[in-house]
Amino acid sequence: MIKKIYLIGNPNVGKSVVFSRLTGVQAISSNYPGTTVEITKGYLRLGDERIEVVDLPGTYSLEPTSSAEEAAVSLLGEYPKNEIVVINILDSTNLERNLLLTLQLIEAGFPILLSLNMCDDAAHKGISIDIKKLQGILNVPVVPTCAVTGTGIRLLIERIKEATSIKRGELGHEERWKEIGRIIEQVQHLEHRHHSLREVLEDASVRPLTGLIMAAVVIYVSFKIVRFVGESIINKVTDPLFFNFYQPALEKMAFYWQGKGFLFHLFIGDLINGKIDFKQSLGMLTTAPYIEFGMVLPYVVSFYFILSLLEDIGYLPRLAILLDNILHRLGLHGYAIIPVLLGFGCNVPGILSSRVLESKRERFIASTIISIGVPCVPLQAMIFGLLGRFGGFYVGGVYLVLFILVLTLGFILNSILPGFSPEFLLEIPPYRFPPLDMLVKKLYFRIKGFLMEAVPVVLIGVMVINILLYFKVLDIVTGLSAPVVNGLFGLPKEAIVALAIGFLRKDVAIGLLMPLGLSVKQLFIAATLLAISFPCAATFIVLWKELGLKDLIRSTLMMIIVSIIVGTALNFLILR
């Protein structure tokens, strides 16, 4: 009786794609090691039974060297070996390195079957593997699969019951590699292929000069596309929908409603010159949907489109090589670029993925830097929306301030925290070109996640604010905080409401600044402060979970101190 099925394999062999195929549960997959840092679970129907399937983070060996690997290995020991099946997923294009884990699993007595994944890729590269022979040598079922297209998955499911543990003597490290060498010689046949354009590009992107040029081009083009796609969606889709259809309908409703009562205030908000103004009315049916769907969502779509593309192609680890130098000065190493880039989408997955870093020290530095200096897409979209009309100078200015902050903070943390920054040892995946439907699926999954999380919070945020404003509760708070907000930062005292709401969601917070009629300088300071001050509630909870209470408090204290210093400095020194 099988109680659980575990998927295990080296990093970046496509475990999460196989997992999605087996369970129907969509899991994020990318072309770099360490996409899965959390344990994902789903169910597979096998005859009449419903068996839990667990997708483990990638590991090179059963002797773990990172916390994600440790999690994978310790989970394997949860159930007695005769009650589980381990599906070992291997990358057919790199069988040799993958077999280490396989031999260890067999030696440890796990009932396993092998899924030789990416079989189509192997064929492209002129690699053929004699499946029957491999099965004969190892004595376990072997199924060639191509999870991206679904080939071989049915056969894999059929053969799950054949998995049995076999006896095999335990080998020493070097003997194991020698044994693998012998196996490879018997089962793998290489056909010589000329260097393809793909390989030339792969090579060029890790060399110093050509690599830097490529990186500059990739970053510039990505940024341009994110803006272009985001703006196009706003101008061609969302704005016409809001202004040509939604607004007239709402205004008709407002006209019949007439009353100025509490509910009108709550849902529609204030009329500006007798009309609804999506940016200023501040109602649950006016400003709330406009912020989320009209200002933020278009950029969420364009950002995740580009990020997903870069992830799946496999460019990000190459960027990590080029940035290793700089990041070392901040107490991190090159691979920290992955959590940072994810953090630009949303700080939550960014901080979660800092688990790919080895030490607690690095994870503390990375999480703190992300929550202070890396603005998420909703925040950035609002900064563009508000400051964009004053020209690129101000938008660029916010980024410049954040960038300088990240460098300074990292440098300081690296010098005062005990310990050192470890070196990275990173596998660089080949470039792959994902089928379009995989890309669309991933984009859909991420956008859905964003909407499920954002929409309720935005509605609640606007509701709470409206109730507080209507009953004039906020006057007390604004009065109390006036010395700091007005005295130090030069903002009107009402801005404290926006800064405080930043704890719920940053986009709503900036939305609250819109009706205040701020000057460019005030907008600049408020937007910068919202970026660096307190993280939103969701980020806060993740920080707590990942860092523990003590480090959370340290990190938070730093945010408050940094906000006060930066806000005051901007107000009195830089933007006089």
């Binding site: 060996s61 040799e96 280490l100 090579d203 090589i321 040892l425």
Partner: protein, 77 residues
Amino acid sequence: MHKISLVAFKTKHKGKVAEILGGVNLHNRLMNMGIYKGREVTKLSHIGLRGPVVIKSGRSILALGHGMAEKIMIEIE
């Protein structure tokens, strides 16, 4: 036989790992990735200013931090 570190070793050249300096932890991490004494590797690139070294071993491409690359000694004639 003469030994030099992977950092000093010439780019685009192939050589055998002669020795790995450093502790058990480094040994194990490298061993898990298939880098051990006697293994043949090709150096693909080195990002200057104490940047990482990129090597090819079997079918894998690996990037190693500068300090780690300094600890891997390569046999030369």
